[in-house]
């Protein structure tokens, strides 16, 4: 939410559809679905490519603690785009990393990943996404590090 407010200084404007209420309803539904779906296909293609090209087991062997490891796992979460129902099981397997670094992985994953970035670029425009995605990443990493420092 913080990243959203920081990244978008412009006011919302209403949709501009013509026709009766039900025409506007179905046209908006169909257009919104096609737009989100199209960008989802784009994002999923990128994710599938990254998952094939980037070999996570090499990262796993690196391991470690501290800020470097946290940023590495944050980047891994963005690249792999694992859904939030599955990432806990993957994080549990990242034994070589500190608990704080794994918390960063779990926090960044649902907030910023390739398919979300593609969909945000489609819905809000590229300029907004260029501000929004990095801000969200920094805030997610920062809050995970803070909580990790305090609790873990």
């Amino acid at each position: 939410v913080v990243a959203f407010l920081l990244a978008h200084p412009v006011k919302f404007r209403g949709h501009e559809h013509t026709g009766t209420t039900s025409e506007r309803f179905f046209n908006t539904l169909v257009h919104d679905f096609l737009q989100a779906g199209g960008f989802l296909v784009l994002g999923a293609t990128l994710v599938a490519t990254m998952q094939t090209v980037v070999d996570p087991s090499t990262l796993q062997r690196v391991g470690g603690a501290g800020l470097g490891a946290a940023l590495l796992l944050g980047a891994l979460a963005v690249v792999l785009s694992i859904c939030s129902e599955a990432d806990a099981f993957v994080a549990a397997g990242l034994l070589q990393f500190s608990l704080t670094a794994r918390l960063v992985f779990l926090t960044v994953g649902p907030m910023v990943d390739i398919k979300l970035i593609a969909m945000q670029a489609g819905t809000f425009g590229r300029r907004f996404t260029m501000r929004f995605a990095p801000l969200t990443f920094l805030i997610a990493v920062g809050s995970a590090l803070l909580v990790g420092q305090w609790l873990l």
Binding site: H8, V10, F12, R13, H15, E16, H17, T18, G19, T20, S22, E23, F26, N27, T28, L29, V30, H31, D32, F33, L34, Q35, G37, G38, F39, V41, L42, T45, V47, Q51, D55, P56, S57, Q60, I82, C83, E85, A86, F89, V90, A92, G93, L94, L95, A121, G122, T123, F124, G125, R126, R127, F128
Partner: protein, 282 residues
């Protein structure tokens, strides 16, 4: 893209989703518990798509002036400038002023990309993940979590007198925890899996564990030693086996992805199950 085309495309995608949801196709990609949501989503898309097609057809027969009269003048002027009555998604943030992305300027245009997975589904018809994916699996290993209740297994065995059926994932869990390893050692259990590699002395079994969809599938394996028949990769088998603690890697190594070793008791070739994956929960 005209509203009619957009409606047609939406109905087409919805129809495919509905088809996948009402056949076992959906099980190649998603957990079985997702099926009702897939069917509901397909229905909504088909209805909305067809409604948009019908309304576009009816609006086309209506005189243009009546349509224009129902919206503010500014919006109409904008529509005429844009050359269509599609809304500009990037407008909401004023991005079109400083150069909107070309794709976002035509919201339904990018929607045609949805045909891509449909064409792949029709022409490539990807099957369930199997031996090929297993031999190329470089992903993260799923850490077996929790312990296997070997006591309950043994009780079930003593009551029914048969060999208990367990998941490959449960076997791995039992083998990866110091608490359950010794207890599981030598106990006959039966698992269903596909053949990854097969020689005269080794039969490596594989099964993918899914937590929500095939995209997060993780491989679990058992290395079965004995004198098995040599089978082709991807053959589905029901194998009775016994965990061999002495020859298995250590518990912590199995947590990190090492393959537990079992002694072969019996192997039977079976038909591929309709749900090819094991599920982490639910």
């Amino acid at each position: 893209v005209k509203s009619g085309d957009a409606g047609f495309l939406t109905a087409l995608v919805g129809g495919s989703v509905l088809y996948a949801g009402s056949t076992n196709t959906v099980l190649l990609f998603l957990r079985p518990s997702m099926r009702p949501y897939v069917i509901a989503a397909g229905l909504v898309l088909v209805i909305a798509g067809l409604a948009a097609v019908v309304m576009d057809w009816r609006a086309g027969r209506r005189p243009r002036r009546r349509v224009a009269a129902t919206v503010p003048a500014a919006a109409v002027a904008h529509d005429h400038a844009a050359g269509s009555n599609e809304h500009l998604a990037a407008d909401e943030f004023g991005d079109e002023v400083d150069g909107a992305p070309a794709l976002a300027a035509h919201p339904a245009g990018i929607g045609w990309l949805l045909l891509f997975p449909l064409l792949v589904a029709v022409f490539v018809a990807p099957g369930a993940l199997g031996a090929y994916a297993a031999s190329h699996h470089s992903g993260l290993v799923v850490a077996p979590s929790g312990t296997l209740d070997v006591d309950a297994l043994l009780r079930a065995q003593s009551i029914t007198g048969g060999v208990p059926n367990i998941r490959v994932y449960d076997f791995t869990r039992g083998a990866s925890a110091d608490g359950s390893r010794a207890q599981l050692n030598g106990v006959h259990v039966s698992v269903q899996a596909f053949v990854t590699t097969s020689t005269k002395t080794n039969l490596v079994l594989g099964r993918f564990v899914v937590s929500c969809c095939a995209a997060d599938a993780q491989l679990v394996s058992i290395d079965v030693r004995g004198a098995p028949p040599v089978l082709k990769p991807n053959t589905w088998v029901r194998v009775t086996l016994a965990f061999d603690e002495a020859r298995s890697p250590a518990a912590h190594a199995i947590v990190n992805g090492a393959v537990p070793v079992a002694r072969l008791v019996k192997v039977a070739v079976i038909r591929a199950p309709s749900d090819p994956y094991e599920y982490l929960w639910g």
